[in-house]
Symmetry: C2
Subunit: 257 residues, 2 copies
DNA sequence: CCCCTTCTGCGTATGAGATACGCTCAAAAG
DNA sequence: CTTTTGAGCGTATCTCATACGCAGAAGGGG
């Protein structure tokens, strides 16, 4: 249980820094095994299927055995959030910030899409796990040659991160709703809203409905979702570009006169 | 149970469109009462405190009585997501899109801040409840005089919405972490990261840490959080402004020559 | 005016699920 | 070989959501 450093338990666990036990039976499980099993379960059957007993069953152990390696289910979820991530993209040092961030954001999107449950878990503040930090570093590195202040860089990266999470969350909520009850679902949006919305009281919404934006097909179309994703991302990066232009009209990291 | 129209139950409930029962005892509860009680509870003790029995106790009824008015806890949560919202701001018809959206976004932020649990619930796709739709309409109206296509408007509004949710989620996760364990928390970020991050492998992160961005004080400072919020919002709106400028160099909604 | 239908409130029961506690025994240290 | 430490895990609690079915109220129809 004790760790070599005086780090909080959870952090030590994330970094695998617990000292090896000297005595006693060999552990037949490790926190890593448990985390992997939990991720497999979540991938296969969704986050709701991840219960301590299910995970234990997956590993052929009893429920309580897990608690020797993981303090609580919450801690397990934290571990999952780090372990599910692959290596961040390796951006050449001279990549310009815009293509770097674009690549990065799409990388995050791809990573999360492989684990749809990922976006359902709340972002627990700035990252602490090794993989999360590696990704964070990657994005910060893309911004390193810009004139942003450090806290602004962090803000931008967190903004992008919440953007990706938000979009994924949205589309998976949609997909889940559809999977659960295709019939009710197809009536849910376009049709139902048309019934409920009075175009006189809500003209803008009326126009949207008339344009068919909420039709089931267009909501579920993968391509449209991707296009929307890129549209929003472009807006955000355009905004950043404009900001950088005003701050550094010509050179990089020049102080204002 | 039956509704006047052929709307799905949940929607009918949201809009209060269930026909009044003819026979039987008068209901001593309404779905609205239940929703209100649940919201009070969530406000006072957090979302985790909202259990069917707690809500029932709040109302002086038994647990199962609630199920006469609400199909499931999920449905109750959906109702809460609509009922917790106040009226959207009333934007004059000639408000320009930018101030309109700024006002709107801050309105959403303020609304959510009054109910910190709000951002913890997943956005269940496009809105269906009356209040949610009113807010949605409000944002769309702000964009009505722009040259955006309808689906782009929706994308922008959803983008703003997820942005707000994401920011709130983040800062409340932070606040919760701090409230739970101030000591461990203050060591969590700056100090811990400094220990764990090798500045040679992660130079960009190293600079951020050195700048003190992750110091506990600055993370929890309300002002900083607000400034960050506005910073991100400005970027996004700047991007949108740029996009609109390229699409309509001079006039509004003019087709390209 | 009485009875029948329809609904309400609610007691009871079921089945998860998380997790505290403490026992037993293995294995390494001495 | 004995002592110490920690692994695996059985058992027991508690909290929840929710299915089911009963009893009695309130109108409606005769």
């Amino acid at each position: 249980m004790a760790d070599q450093t005086d780090l909080p338990d959870e952090v030590a666990l994330l970094w695998g820094l617990r000292e090896a036990p000297r005595k006693g039976p060999k552990p037949s499980l490790t926190a890593g095994d448990i985390t992997r099993a939990a991720i497999e379960l979540a991938d296969a059957e969704g986050l709701a299927a991840v219960s301590m007993s299910r995970v234990a069953a997956q590993l052929g152990n009893s429920t309580m055995a897990l608690y020797r390696h993981v303090k609580s289910k919450d801690e397990l979820l934290t571990l999952m959030l780090d372990a599910a991530l692959e290596e961040p993209p390796d951006l050449p040092g001279d990549t310009d910030w815009r293509s770097g961030l674009t690549l990065w954001t799409h990388g995050v999107l791809a990573a999360i899409k492989q684990h749809p449950w990922y976006a359902q878990l709340p972002l627990g503040g700035p990252p602490v796990g090794p993989q999360n930090l590696a990704w964070f570093e990657c994005a910060l590195a893309a911004l390193s040659r810009t004139a942003l202040e450090e806290h602004e860089k962090v803000g931008v990266v967190m903004g992008l991160l919440t953007y990706v999470h938000g979009q994924v969350r949205l589309s998976s909520a949609l997909a889940a709703g559809y999977a659960k009850n295709p019939d009710a679902f197809s009536r849910q949006y376009a049709a139902v809203l048309t019934r409920v919305v009075d175009p006189r009281r809500m003209p803008a919404l009326g126009k949207v409905l008339a344009a068919g934006v909420f039709d089931v097909d267009s909501l579920l179309e993968e391509q449209d979702a991707d296009a929307d994703f890129d549209f929003g991302l472009t807006l955000y990066l355009d905004g950043l570009a404009g900001f950088l232009a005003t701050r550094t009209p010509s050179t990089v990291s020049a102080p204002s006169p």
